[in-house]
Amino acid sequence: MASTTRVLIADDHPVVRVGLRNMLQSDPTIQVVGEASDGLEALELARSLHPDVLLLDLAMPNVAGMEALREMTAGNLDTRTIVLTGLIDKRQVLEALQLGARGVVLKDAAVEHLAECIRAVMQGQYWLEGRPVQNLVQVLRDLTAQTAPAPRKTFGLTARELEVVGLITEGCTNRDIAKTFGISEETVKRHLTNIFNKLGVGNRLELALFALNHNLLPTPDGQ
């Protein structure tokens, strides 16, 4: 007789838990060993019950699903986690996989796919978009590429001119800018003339609005 897969269900919605439990229990190879209604309980039960698989809703009270997943990974638990989600957010999928999730199942496909997903995961496969993943490295590469922020368009401005734009939007005067960069006010004026010409704006207010609308301002990490 095939060994059974012990499953823990973590979802804050009781109706969801009952539905999934009943559906899974009709499969003789699956045994639902526990249910958790929030992330904290999920962690506690995973530690005490040592299930083979944790079905983890990402949006739960107390400890959110993603945080619970992080803790599971940090705790070196053998449990394989399958994430349940209402929609595919590529950034979230990437983060979940990076945190050690073995599968992602959409809630509207849970009844149809979950048992198959559990079997695939127990065989060492990953599960995404309703099927086993053959090449996880390629999937991670694709997801990383799809979720990377678009490069900042600079409209031909030099690095120094972009810095000047940043200070203009902060309300700095030419004198402030000159002082900040250790250059003369004349040089600041030349930078501004070049910036106005390149962007087709006529004054500092238009420049500030252009910068805001076109994502010209530096990000906190300096990118």
Partner: protein
Amino acid sequence: MPETETSLAPAVFDQLQKAMATNKAGFTELYRDFLADAWHTLRELREAVQQQRIEDARDKAHYLKSSCLVLGAREVARQATRIEELARASAAIKEIEVEPIADALCDVQAELAERLGSGVLPAGKTAA
């Protein structure tokens, strides 16, 4: 609604029904609990919208969406998602915008009553 379209995703309903074939009463109870919970959550969502408690409205819409997705109530889930997205964008939500959820839930309830009998209707009723 066109005759060919159903309020419940057939694949989900049929598979769950098959899975619970030996527990027909439990199957009806599952959908009865679903309906009772959905109407209750809808009432809470309406209150949140009336009082413009946008974060609450987002949470209630999300909660409602969750069970609807799993149990196959696609249109209710779609309408709840619309409200959740409005709330996430911090947009003001008009009370009338919640009503398509009630309409969709009425359709689901009618279909369930037709398929499973009146025993699926929650006690004390329900709708709007």
